[in-house]
Amino acid sequence: MTGQTSTNWMPGWIQRVWIVLKKELRDHSRDRRSLTLALVYPMLGPLLVAGGLLLAGKTLQGDFREHAVTVPAVGVEHAPQLKTYLENNNVRFSAAPPTRQAQEDAVREGRLAVVLIVPQSADGQGAFTIELLTNTGRVDNLRVTARLSAIVRGFNDHIADQKALAAGLPAGYATAVKIARTNVARDANIAVFFYNMVPPLVIFMIFLGGVHLAIDTTVGERERGSLEPLLLAPVERWVLLLAKALAALAFTAVTTVVNLGAFRLFMGLAASSSERLVAPPGWDVFAVIFAVTVPLMAIAVALQMSVAVITRSMKEAQIYLGLLPLAPALPGMVMVFSPMNPTDVTVAVPVLGQMLLINQLVGEQALDPQHVLIAALTTTLSAALIFLLAAKWFRREKMFVLG
């Protein structure tokens, strides 16, 4: 006689869930696709964001006064006073291409950021026009052009003040309004822009992490013919689906841990490369983000299971579930550019609630516990309802029979 189970203290259905869950975890821990999705894919988003942050830190956050810039120039000797002023402001000059056409081509093709042209007619003149050949389609060109324009505006103010003083007028006489900028956002604002990309990318990965497992254990089993033998075992259908959903949830959780860890690690490294970039939120904040996303993982898996059980083939399921992560991630991308504030109503919307909370956490704002509770309850409840629907569909005869 076969032995009886040693976990008799557990209700029978929990024992059966545990048996199927263990099998799915063992099976998929040997599957290269599941492991790649869980362990490698979650690294890609963080690497991309950290790479962008590193590049932006170097490209956009340079200090005009501390770093010299070399500008290809033509005829700068015709305006010696301007030349001296620019040199005093850390501008160096190099030879420009010989012809106008070559200069324009070099700027257009990105070989040169800008070309400064001082006309011969400027020689000995108090007022003249200089030309900056630039390419507004390139961020690095904009940076140099903006810097040169700012220095030239400073030169104009300087000359205007000199002329006013020479005429016995107060400095600033020729300039009606001067602008003094005070940047309260610290120089780190560009880093914050990148950190705001974290929520939609985290949500994207949550909807992707367990997708292969969800497909493989449902419609995949049916396609391979292994679902029919499984259904011959004396196990409730909903128990089978619950165990498979829990396995997908476990893989999603691993994916999310790797994703969040990689974000914190890579962004921290990128931010530490420049003193002018603020560090990302701490590991403790990322731990809270993980906790906030648990209901999100549940609804992601419930949606995956429900789609997987109604599709006819793995290929069909892959098409639908490949698109699924885009739906919740898109509002997040919109919020990168147009932030939304959480209210009792907005956090009650499943998925959106978590997105708003993660945005707050990434922005290092304190969470309202009521918002956390509302978001967790509505999303978890929605996940449960979607799962019940999937379980109902899983009982259909069409689910079991090939063809």
């Binding site: 006689m1 076969t2 032995g3 009886q4 189970t5 040693s6 976990t7 059966r16 048996i19 199927v20 099998k23 063992r26 099976d27 998929h28 040997r30 599957d31 089993e221 391979r224 013919g225 292994s226 679902l227 029919e228 033998p229 499984l230 259904l231 011959l232 075992a233 004396p234 196990v235 409730e236 005869e397 079991f400 029979v401 090939l402």
Partner: protein, 247 residues
């Protein structure tokens, strides 16, 4: 004992079963034979609780499958036509998984698995992952999976389909042993020589109902032919003729 009583089942436009009845007794091998699409697999699926009948009922050791599917399944071992193995589990893990699903565990289960590995000659591949198994190896794993909970009743759908001579013989020997142990065995096969060798009782199914039943000798007498294949062909032809007259 497996009892099928007046089963009716329809899929959209297809009438798969039209009042099929049969009984498979303990200690005997009952063969269900019929052309493709006759309703054999549908009948099996109703017996093992995968499909619900539109009318009629199926009982396993007196348990109505529709009323208590899980109790009926505990008394039933099934070898489906599609073996359906998990490519990333070993043969032993397959058998252990299904043993656990039937409520077994621990040393007793491991002893049962060892016994099945020996009985089915799986020693050389028991701990290999199923990916790349031959059809014979797949069949042995599927048999181990079906037998691990020591069911009293067995349903074997095309048990030797695609097997080589040696593997087919091994399966036939296993079926004979199980029969001698008093198990109720219901098989479906297209191989008449196999049916002739194995079956004590035959049920010929056509268009979703039993058109003839009895021992092989009784059917030979009824059809007036010695060769079982010829018996099968004559009975089907007679059934078609009757159906045309009725129309």
């Amino acid at each position: 004992m497996i009892e099928i009583e007046n089963l009716t089942k329809r899929f959209d436009q297809v009438q798969a079963l039209s009042g099929l009845s049969l009984t498979a007794q303990d200690g005997r091998v009952t063969g269900l034979i019929g052309p493709n699409g006759a309703g054999k697999t549908t009948a099996f699926r109703i017996v093992y609780g995968l499909l619900a009948p539109d009318q009629g009922c199926a009982r396993v050791d007196g348990v109505d499958v529709a009323e208590d599917r899980m109790l009926a399944q505990r008394q039933l071992g099934v070898l489906p036509d599609v073996r359906g193995l998990y490519p990333r589990l070993s043969a032993r893990e397959h058998i252990r998984y299904f043993g656990q699903l039937h409520g077994a565990c621990g040393a007793a289960l491991e002893a049962d698995i060892d016994e099945l590995v020996t009985r089915l000659s799986m020693g050389d591949f028991a701990d290999r992952l199923a990916k790349g198994f031959s059809r014979g190896q797949e069949l042995k794993v599927a048999l181990g999976r079906a037998l691990v909970h020591r069911p009293h009743n067995l349903i074997l759908d095309e048990p030797t389909n695609g097997l080589d001579v040696m593997s087919s013989r091994a399966v036939r020997e296993l079926i004979a042993e199980m029969k001698a142990e008093g198990h109720c065995i219901l098989i479906s096969s297209h191989i008449m020589s196999e049916v002739s060798l194995l079956c004590d009782d035959l049920v010929i199914v056509a268009e979703g109902r039993a058109v003839a039943s009895g021992t092989p000798d009784e059917l030979r007498t009824e059809a007036g032919a010695d060769d079982l294949e010829e018996v099968f062909v004559r009975i089907l032809a007679r059934t078609s003729a009757k159906a045309e007259v009725a129309q």
